[in-house]
């Protein structure tokens, strides 16, 4: 299985730990870059020589929230094609619509049960791994 380069943006350290734990459990060799807000994520995007396969971001964060970060990424020619998935506690339709208007590739609300969370993250990783492989084969 090829490893995915993921930019994980969440101000909650425990959420980042949980995500990395799922990656370990399903033996998914992900190269995860972590940021605790949109501003730091932008700095990583701009400075990194890595070509990211996936951005996973929370919405409610200090300094630069997920909406601002998403807006920047989708308006930037260099980064706009990186699949951007929101993982948030917000189940507000307004938030969801706003994100889809920016062109996100997925949105899921964080479930309380870890088993459910783990299933969803695993599906997400498997899907984007396949998509990323296909994209590389077609270029």
């Amino acid at each position: 299985m090829r490893s995915l380069s993921i930019l994980l943006v969440d101000d909650d350290k425990i959420e980042r730990l949980k995500f990395k734990k799922v990656c370990q459990e399903v033996d998914f060799e992900s190269n995860i870059f972590e940021a605790k807000d949109g501003e730091t994520a932008l700095q990583i995007l701009k400075a990194s020589k890595t070509s990211f396969d996936l951005i996973i971001s929370d919405l409610n964060m200090p300094r630069m929230d997920g909406f601002e970060f998403l807006s920047f990424v989708k308006k930037n020619a260099e980064f706009k094609n990186i699949p951007f998935v929101i993982i948030s506690t917000s189940n507000s339709k307004i938030d969801l619509d706003r994100c889809y208007k920016f062109g996100i590739s997925g949105y899921f609300t964080k479930p309380l049960k870890y088993t459910e969370y783990s299933k969803r993250v695993t599906s997400l990783l498997e899907y984007w791994n396949k998509a990323s492989l296909s994209a590389r084969l077609n270029t």
Partner: protein, 104 residues
Amino acid sequence: MELPNLTLIKEISGNDIEFENSILDIIKLEFPEEVAIFKTNFEQKKYVEASNNVHKIKHKISLLGLKNGLETASAFELQLKQEKLELYPNFIEILDKIHVYLYN
């Protein structure tokens, strides 16, 4: 009466004690800081900021298994955005309960 517990953290951790301790260490480290920021914002009547602080704290309330506490915190988070303060004492009660659980 609902009390903080480790049920959810144990579920997340599986049998991984190291992971369980990592989560608890983060909670113990961040909880007092987050509460202090919330109280400062609340006292200065910065209710939107305080609401964002509640949003962050409520994740810890949820991790410590306080289902009713989580509902109260979610309602209070919304109330603060409208500058309503009725649930403040209930929220403080939850915070105090967690403080006693974590540090005594």
